[in-house]
Amino acid sequence: ETVFATPQIPRAPFEGAPICTTAAGDAAAAAGPLKKITFAWNAGAPCLVGVTVAKEKGFFAKHGLDVELTNYSGSTDQLLETLATGKADAAAGMALRWLKPMEQGFDVKIVASTHGGCLRLLAPTASNIKNLKDLKGKIIAVSDMNSPGKNFFAIRLKKVGLDPEKDVEFKQFPGPLLRVSVEKGEAHALADNDPLTFLFQKDGAFREISSNLDGEYASRVCCIIGVRGSLIRDDKPTAAAIARALIEASEYAAHHPEEAAATYAPYGPGKVELADLVTLAKYHSHHHHPVGADLKKELALYAEELKLVSIFKPSTDPAKFAERIYADVLS
């Protein structure tokens, strides 16, 4: 047991908060011993409250799973490597981060999704950038050249008629320094994901120009659940149990954002304000967690759009791609 994986220091406002008096709690005892599962995630992403809810509120247990959370920092494609090499059984990550590497052919299948939202494009409030079109000829700071933020807003720019390769320039800066790079004049706007973008705009000096909850994207998934290919082949029920637990947990989070945020709090580093977590939990669309054909369709749409901005190879067929990477474990 480690301090990181288990909340040992309950935060003051929740002292004595019943950990298991939940929707799932009573139904917990599924027959037989719990199956041990290693679940990889990036604990720095507060949009993954679904995962902590599933663990702390007993959704995993309810589905017969004993889940160990393993934190992977750094760029999230290492999660794919972990899954593909069998070092973890399942993992959560952002669709726009994973799809491109998955085009290369990892032995990883998508089984579910958890929520939408969490990518934002910000510009200084004082600047005259008011919408995406104003970005023409500007420099946008991103945390790396494959970041979901970069991928997503490249699509958005393309859709408003700007060429993401010619009309704007993306420049890479270390995530926490994105805002500084704009303030120092090395870029005009920045695109990244929560929590950093959320924190950047908190003091009002930066304004949100666009996000992935705008317009048609309001009903698009952000984070998806992948499992190792061999789990689908050898132990499909477990894969299904993981998917179910997380979907139920997301639904729970959508209805109880305060409690969901509280489950996540111990995983955040140092000084994270609970109010912020709650705001984020409310902001991210945890009610949106499609599966089956819906999810497959959304994945295909992403693939289509990534092709549009020449991130995907022209030869990739979006429908076939979605078919290949999605495994329907729930029906």
């Binding site: 934190n71 920092s73 490597e81 955040g268 580093p269 140092g270």
Partner: protein
């Protein structure tokens, strides 16, 4: 050392004896000044209101005031315990400088907010991290130390053997040297995917990464050490009937040890730098991990705290290494300094 001792010898040639004067007065003045600086720091921390919200200012102020008072007293009463005062004397300039630096730091961050936030947290924000987050930090230290030591020992051992073999066998060199030239300079991150596959667990992969980074400088320097042994030593040993093994173990290796230690020193430093990479792989605690995790939230106070611990740890290990060297190589003057 030599140059410095030459300097010292000529400087100390004509010591002023007699009155308890200059020397002693400077000593006392320095201690008192250092004490005053720390008390001033405590005062600033306590009574100048913060421009933002950071915890543990109170505790810091108390500790600083206590320390300052102790220094102050030591300056006043130094005469009572000359040997202690003599010892303290070596530190007082630094203590004074540190006190002033802390005041500056405090003023430019928490008080005047001249330095941009949250990148430059004030001192009491760090204190807060140490006080409030110490279980996590402690766990990280233990985990990192374990990983580091396992990797370092494995890498140092392998590097030593490779280095000796390179200096020893032409055939080994023929096959290994080109590979080493290609592999040696590769950044550790390149090994992540391969390490993932080649090793049963991500922990062993992490150990491999650290070992590799340690092993390269150890191998290169052991090799050079063996290769640059004064050939007169070999001549002597060979005419006395030394076997190949004797030449290696009783001539080449002892003569190369100073180089080997340089390699170990370099390897230790380098391996700390990859700790961050190695701890990206599914570990549950560790300083590198903590560092990255803190950075993801722009929790800079936590990050600096972890960094401080990390560099103290590395410095401590290097000190240990140098102690070991001084013991083994007592026959020679220190080669590499620390």
């Amino acid at each position: 050392m030599s140059l410095i001792s030459i300097e010292a010898a000529s400087a100390g040639a004509a010591p002023t004896r007699g009155l308890p004067s200059r020397e002693t007065l400077t000593r006392a003045a320095l201690a008192i000044a250092a004490g005053a600086a720390w008390i001033a720091f405590a005062f600033v921390t306590r009574h100048w209101p913060d421009a933002g919200e950071w915890g543990r200012g109170e505790e810091l102020a108390q500790a600083a005031a206590g320390f300052g008072a102790a220094l102050f007293l030591a300056g006043l009463l130094g005469g009572l315990w000359p040997r202690g005062a003599e010892r303290l004397r070596r530190y007082t300039p630094w203590l004074l400088a540190l006190g002033l630096f802390f005041i500056l730091w405090q003023a430019t961050t928490a008080k005047l907010a001249l330095l941009p936030q949250p990148f430059f947290p004030p001192p009491h924000a760090l204190v807060e991290v140490f006080v409030d987050d110490w279980p996590k930090l402690w766990e990280s230290v233990v985990a990192s130390l374990k990983l580091e030591l396992l990797g370092f020992l494995a890498g140092a051992g392998a590097g030593f053997v490779v280095g000796v073999s390179l200096g020893w066998s032409r055939a080994f060199g023929y096959w290994v040297h080109p590979a080493m030239r290609l592999i040696g300079p590769m950044p550790s991150i390149a090994w992540l995917p391969i390490a993932f596959f080649a090793f049963p667990s991500s922990y062993s992969a992490s150990i491999f990464l650290i070992g590799l980074t340690t092993g390269f400088p150890v191998a290169v320097l052991t090799w050079s050490g063996v290769a640059s042994v004064n050939s007169a030593y070999y001549d002597v040993a060979r005419t006395l009937g030394a076997s190949r093994a004797f030449l290696i173990f009783k001539v080449a290796i002892p003569a190369a040890l100073p180089h080997v230690f340089v390699g170990l020193f370099m390897g230790l430093g380098a391996s700390f730098a990859v700790l961050v990479t190695a701890e990206m792989m599914g570990v549950k605690a560790g300083l590198g991990f903590y560092l990255q995790w803190a950075q993801g939230w722009a929790a800079y106070a936590n990050m600096y705290a972890a960094l401080l611990v990390m560099s103290l740890m590395c410095s401590g290990l290097i000190t240990l290494l140098f102690r070991l060297r001084d013991r083994l190589l007592s026959w020679q003057k220190a080669e590499v300094q620390w």
